[in-house]
């Protein structure tokens, strides 16, 4: 180019260094006439005069644009000038403003930067002015078309690609293009875009020419970047979708658009965000892929930098740039039509066939392992949303609420990203630290855990054939940073707030686990075995990642009494453990009683001033009560030294003394439930339960709050007696009924009276004798009311009258007023609702969901029965064990089951196998004894005693299965010194060198003796049942089970234990499994029927259970027994009384 030539002689004497650009201010003059204007703008080769003309025109246009009235004389001058410059209609290529265009062209030839800049300046202003007048639009369009002519295109292109330092040329040219593309609603946008080689020349580069300097960019003198961005935004506003798509596919432009976004002025950013949102994101005509060109991970990341944008100071009701960026990103990333978000398959990763066919044989052999991809996604989860997957790690959810919200919103619409995100971001740990960052991260993780599980795991309308990978499900329930170590350290942290956050996360995690388990157990699954196994795995994995119940209990213990919120959350966590992971919770032997005492004590003392605190305290109490309900060892009655009232009375006290308005429905339900279970009230569906007592106490308390104080010990005494000896009061009731029948000569044999009233009658004389006037006075007020409410609730009037007449003799009633007035009639319940509408509510049985009549319509077929109750034969001989054990260490022999496999071989039918097994057991015992194995002595003793027992009978046939089963299970007890049976097994082993073959080891110790460790009774029963089920395999074994013994046949004792009302469903089912096992043995069902009256036993169990599916199980078991028994014999035995129709 002619740069050097241009300098000519002027530059000849200058030193050879970079020329300093000096902008001399152009001269100008005021314009008064169109003729003058034409003269000024006429082509003139003299650059000074040309600049003078252009500058005068510029000032004139500025003035017009600023003027309110654009139709005055000044405007007329312009119109006249423009008309005079209008090209002839005959021109083939009409050139508007030919003089200005020529001046521009000449400046190009002479490299006059000042004029190259001045021309676009005036043209941009002129177009802006013309766009405001409808009449002048055609003229403006003419100018725009002139710009598209080759000569002008070259000039524009040249201007746009001027040196980066020549912002004064680049900026006006971009402004001119912007005015042109916007003119008349984008009339020439398309032709302009077609000439993009010139018009968009260096656009990307120009977007990078930012304002430099310490002072912020002047809004009146925007940088080339600002002008370029505004031009781009005008282009996407006016271009057709196809052209826009092409524009967006220019990677350099799209990339430059957001590269320097952090430095842009607020007004520009507003334009940018609004423009992109309106004309890209929300443009339904623009194809998805075009949008995704713009919204790649890098653009999203740069826009996310605006979360930290601080150059704006918005007014209160105006959104900040940071807010606008957040809204933009939220829409871009969560709206599928915006081009970023892709439809995923929830918890199933990309490329996984969730309906892959798997043969039944494979399922039987390999279980979940038959699904090849099941374990594949622990370290990498392929996703469809790779743009988002790349974008998310750039956000900082721990330090910014909005960024956290954005990620959570994305997780919600693309659940596949949760596991992926945490696998890819392992560096940020959850190690507890009392800092804003940790709290921010904890809050983010909490929100992640609370995200819902996608519909049917895959966001479809039905479940796929195969369960989702367990690792992905667990990563969504307890994301990877929530490791067991980090959670444990948080839970036990000395900072209560850290423990509180960890507790809350665990609460929502267990709630989510519960939902996931239920989804796995949905009855519609086609491949139930696999889903069941997946559910079990899920629970196992959760337990491995979650802190143990002991840590949770310790954490709860350490919370100060006054921290109600924390206590509520921690008690809720424990309650959820009992509900969702009962096997884990029950293993902890947690005694809830002391906590319940404390909570009840606090509430009954009314220490909480704020009724809302009371409400929160009641929530904690409800949680503890629920735990008490799940703990078989809960002692409801019986005072302690520390707490002279029983927990039940304390709870009653809370219920009676709570302020009005505090909801007590749950407490009332629990009181009624316990009262019914403990037989304090008649177990009739339509009986009001404890309500008359509660109502009488509440009435009295509300009339005089101090009056009930004297009653609690008396009532506690009566209730404890009822609970301890319920039969006694039933008998007393019969006597009273008899008396009433005789006295009134009417039949009241079916009369119902609460045993509590009878216990009160019994205890009243002792109070009278003690002469405690305060108590007697309170009783004189309370008893008539209590009996009155009992009468209202439907108890028998005649019997109550007899009761009253006897009670009144012990009450202070010197004037006989009490005796005369009798039981008050027609008392109305004001604090409690009588159960007329819902009779079940009051006898406390509603908390078990469906306590409907057990007369059930459900039925269970043989297949389901087998699946539910059949236990595989764990003593089935595997002869290969004889070979495998030899190379194993002592630890492996005991812990990995090689020793138990050898033990099982003693039940083999083949003498040679048994002999070999015996030798192997002796050798293994010796090997263990010589090892460093911790429990080597006990294990050696067990194996040696077993060998000694088997030795003399080895040729006589298989060792009785119960002996073998005992040895196997006892070995497992010895492995674990904290096992509840550890002391008993050791005692048993030290008793003698061999065992009696006709006696079942340890049965008496478990059934008849107190548990040696805490309240592990139920754990011991569970262990015994597993051993008994394994030990029942042959008719010979069955004989041992029904053999007459001093304390009765074993089966009889087991059936008696099974009637324990506190037994939970899993344990109840174990009993049924034992019975089912008996039915598989020849003669088993007949023996059960004729020797143990099993049909009646099952009938009774069915009548006592409220769950339809459990009742159906009893029915099915009865049917099975009938089908497998010797029906002729049973008919004869029952004299035709037993006959079950299929």
């Amino acid at each position: 180019m002619g740069k050097r030539t241009n300098r000519g002689g002027d530059a000849a004497g200058w030193p050879r260094k970079k020329a300093k650009v000096v902008h001399e201010a152009p001269t100008s003059e005021d314009i008064h006439a169109s003729r003058q204007l034409r003269q000024l703008l006429i082509f003139d080769q003299d650059p000074v005069r040309a600049r003078h003309g252009l500058q005068s025109f510029k000032l004139y246009l500025d003035e017009l644009l600023a003027a309110e009235n654009k139709d005055g004389d000044r405007a007329r001058i312009l119109n006249e000038y423009l008309n005079s410059e209008k090209p002839s209609e005959d021109d083939d290529i009409p050139v508007y403003l030919p003089d200005i265009m020529q001046t521009w062209s000449h400046a190009g030839q002479t490299n006059n930067d000042n004029i190259l800049s001045a021309v676009p300046v005036v043209l941009a202003l002129l177009l802006k002015l013309l766009s405001q007048s409808l009449e002048m639009v055609p003229y403006g369009l003419g100018i725009c078309r002139t710009l598209l002519q080759k000569r002008q295109q070259e000039l524009i292109s040249r201007n746009l690609s001027a040196d980066k330092g020549k912002a004064f040329i680049i900026s006006p040219t971009l402004r001119l293009l912007r005015e042109a593309i916007m003119f008349d609603g984008g009339a020439i946008a398309m032709p302009l875009f077609r000439a993009r080689a010139s018009m968009l020349k260096s656009l990307a580069r120009n977007m990078g020419i930012v304002h430099i300097g310490e002072e912020p960019e002047d809004i009146k003198r925007p940088s080339p970047r600002s002008n370029a961005v505004l031009f781009f935004l005008s282009a996407i506003r006016h271009l057709q979708p196809e052209a826009k798509k092409e524009l967006l596919s220019q990677r350099d432009i799209v990339s430059a658009l957001t590269r320097d976004v952090k430095q842009d002025l607020p007004y520009l950013l507003k334009e940018l965000l609004k423009g992109l949102r309106a004309h890209v994101l929300m443009d339904d005509n623009l194809p998805r892929e075009a949008k995704s060109h713009l919204l790649n991970a890098s653009t999203l990341t740069r826009l996310s930098a605006l979360y930290q944008y601080r150059l704006d100071t918005p007014a209160e009701d105006v959104p900040s740039i940071s807010d606008m960026a957040h809204d933009f990103l939220l829409a871009a990333c969560t709206n599928p039509s915006c081009g970023v978000l892709r439809q995923d398959s929830g918890f199933y990763p990309r490329e996984v066939d969730a309906n892959a066919p798997i043969s039944a044989a494979e399922v039987d052999d390999l279980g979940l392992e038959a699904v090849v991809w099941m374990n594949k996604f622990r370290n990498d989860v392929p996703v469809r949303n790779w743009t988002l997957s790349n974008f998310l790690p750039n956000l900082r959810p721990w330090s910014n609420v909005k960024q956290s919200e954005l990620i959570i919103a994305i997780f919600k619409v693309a659940p596949e990203l949760v596991a992926n995100y945490f696998i890819n971001n392992k560096s940020f740990t959850f190690e507890p630290k009392l800092s804003a960052t940790w709290i921010g991260y904890a809050a983010f993780l909490f929100n992640t855990v609370t995200l819902p599980i996608p519909d049917n795991f895959c966001r479809a309308t039905s479940f796929p054939g195969l369960p989702p990978p367990t690792s992905i499900v667990i990563d969504n329930i307890l994301p990877l940073p929530l490791s067991q170590k980090a959670l444990m350290r948080s839970l036990t942290n000395k900072s209560n707030m850290i423990a509180f956050f960890a507790t809350r996360i665990l609460v929502v995690a267990i709630e989510k686990l519960d939902v996931a388990i239920k989804l796995h157990q949905d009855p519609t699954h086609s491949n139930k075995t696999l889903w069941d196994e997946a559910a079990r795995r899920l629970i196992d994995e959760f337990c491995q990642r979650s802190p143990g119940i002991k840590e949770m209990i310790n954490s709860y213990r350490s919370i100060p009494d006054t921290d109600l919120l924390h206590r509520e959350a921690a008690s809720r966590l424990l309650r959820l453990c009992y509900e969702v992971l009962p096997q884990v919770a029950l293993s902890a032997k947690f005694d809830v009683s002391p906590f319940l005492d404390i909570a009840l004590g606090r509430l009954s003392k009314q220490e909480l001033d704020d009724p809302r605190d009371l409400g929160l305290g009641l929530k904690e109490l409800e949680n503890l009560l629920a735990i008490a309900g799940y703990s078989p060892g809960m002692r409801w009655f019986g005072a302690t030294e520390a707490q002279p009232l029983s927990p039940f009375i304390l709870l009653l006290k809370v219920c009676v003394e709570s302020p009005q308005g505090v909801s007590l429905d749950n407490i009332r339900q629990i009181l009624n439930f316990v009262a019914s279970e403990q037989q304090l009230v008649p177990a009739r569906d339509n009986h009001a339960g404890l309500l008359p007592l509660i109502e009488a106490l509440q009435t009295m308390y509300n009339s005089s709050p101090g009056s009930t104080t004297h009653l609690w010990y008396f009532i506690d005494n009566c209730l404890t007696r009822c609970a301890n000896t319920p039969v006694k009061y039933v008998e007393k009731l019969q006597e009273l009924i008899q008396e009433a029948t005789e006295a009134k000569h009417e039949n009241v044999t079916s009369a119902v009276i609460s045993p509590i009233a009878i216990a009160m009658l019994e205890q009243l004389p002792f109070i009278a004798k003690s002469g405690d006037k305060a108590v007697l006075k309170a009783l004189a007020q309370f008893i008539p009311n209590f009996l009155g409410f009992s009468l209202t609730s439907g108890e028998s009037g005649p019997v109550l009258s007899i009761l009253f007449s006897r009670m009144v003799t012990h009450l202070p009633d010197s004037k006989g007023r009490l005796a005369r007035s009798g039981i008050p009639q027609g008392l109305q319940f004001k604090h409690n609702h009588l159960p007329s509408a819902d009779p079940l509510t009051t006898n406390g049985r509603t908390n078990t969901a469906s306590r409907e009549s057990p007369a059930t319509e459900l039925s269970i077929n043989d297949e389901v029965l087998e699946r539910t109750l059949e236990v595989s034969d764990n003593l089935k001989a595997e002869n290969s064990s004889l070979m495998r054990w030899a190379s194993k260490t002592a630890d492996e022999l005991v812990d990995e089951g090689y020793a138990t496999s050898l033990i099982a071989l003693l039940a083999s039918e083949h003498a040679s196998i048994r002999k070999e097994a015996l030798v192997a057991i002796l050798k293994a015992a010796a090997k263990i004894k010589q090892s460093e194995y911790e429990e080597k002595e006990q294990v050696w003793l067990l194996l040696s005693e077993l060998a000694e027992t088997a030795k003399d009978n080895i040729n006589d046939g298989p060792l009785p299965s119960p002996i073998v089963a005992f040895a196997s299970h006892a070995l497992n007890v010895l492995r674990d010194p904290v096992h509840g049976l550890y002391p008993k097994v050791n005692n048993f082993l030290t008793r003698g060198p061999f065992w009696k073959l006709d006696k079942l080891p340890l049965v008496d110790e478990i059934l008849s003796q107190e548990p040696t460790v805490g309240d592990s009774f139920y754990t011991q029963i569970a262990w015994l049942l597993v051993y008994l089920i394994d030990g029942l395999r042959t008719p010979g074994d069955l004989e041992l089970y029904h053999k007459k013994r001093a304390k009765g046949p074993l089966l009889e004792r087991i059936l008696a234990v099974a009637t324990n009302p506190y037994m939970r469903l899993p344990l109840r089912t174990q009993f049924l499994k034992l019975l089912f096992r008996a039915t598989t043995i020849e003669g088993g069902s007949t023996t059960l029927t004729t020797r143990f009256g099993i049909m009646n036993w099952l009938d009774a169990r069915k009548a006592g259970c409220g769950d339809k599916s459990e009742a159906a199980l009893y029915d099915a078991l009865q049917r099975r027994i009938w089908e497998t028994c010797d029906q002729e014999r049973v008919r004869a035995w029952s004299k035709g009384g037993l006959e079950i129709q299929n």
């Binding site: 330090s399 956290s404 709290i439 921010g440 308005g661 509300n702 004001k830």
Partner: protein, 88 residues
């Protein structure tokens, strides 16, 4: 403690207007936050003095973090607790 006389039981108490769900949620959130700041006052002070505490963003984060636990209470549970305010 309530100190109503026995006569108050002969007439049924006037039903208080039932709060809307939004009212209940807002009252409960405010109570929850108040309770949390009271229980963890000491820890919150330590967080305020931590190196990474930036006044402009961290306060917002703390408030959001503390009150997110309200979601663990169902609307009915929230209502029960805030309704505890109305005494006889």
């Amino acid at each position: 403690m309530p100190s109503s006389s026995s006569s108050s039981f002969s007439s049924s108490p006037e039903p208080a207007p039932r709060k809307t769900d939004d009212q209940v949620q807002s009252e409960f959130t405010s109570y929850y936050l108040q309770r949390a700041t009271k229980e963890f006052a000491e820890d919150l002070d330590k967080v305020r003095n931590a190196d990474d505490f930036k006044a402009d963003t961290a306060v917002q984060m703390l408030v959001a973090a503390l009150q997110q636990g309200t979601g663990m209470f169902s609307l009915e549970e929230q209502r029960r607790i805030v309704d505890g305010l109305k005494r006889a």
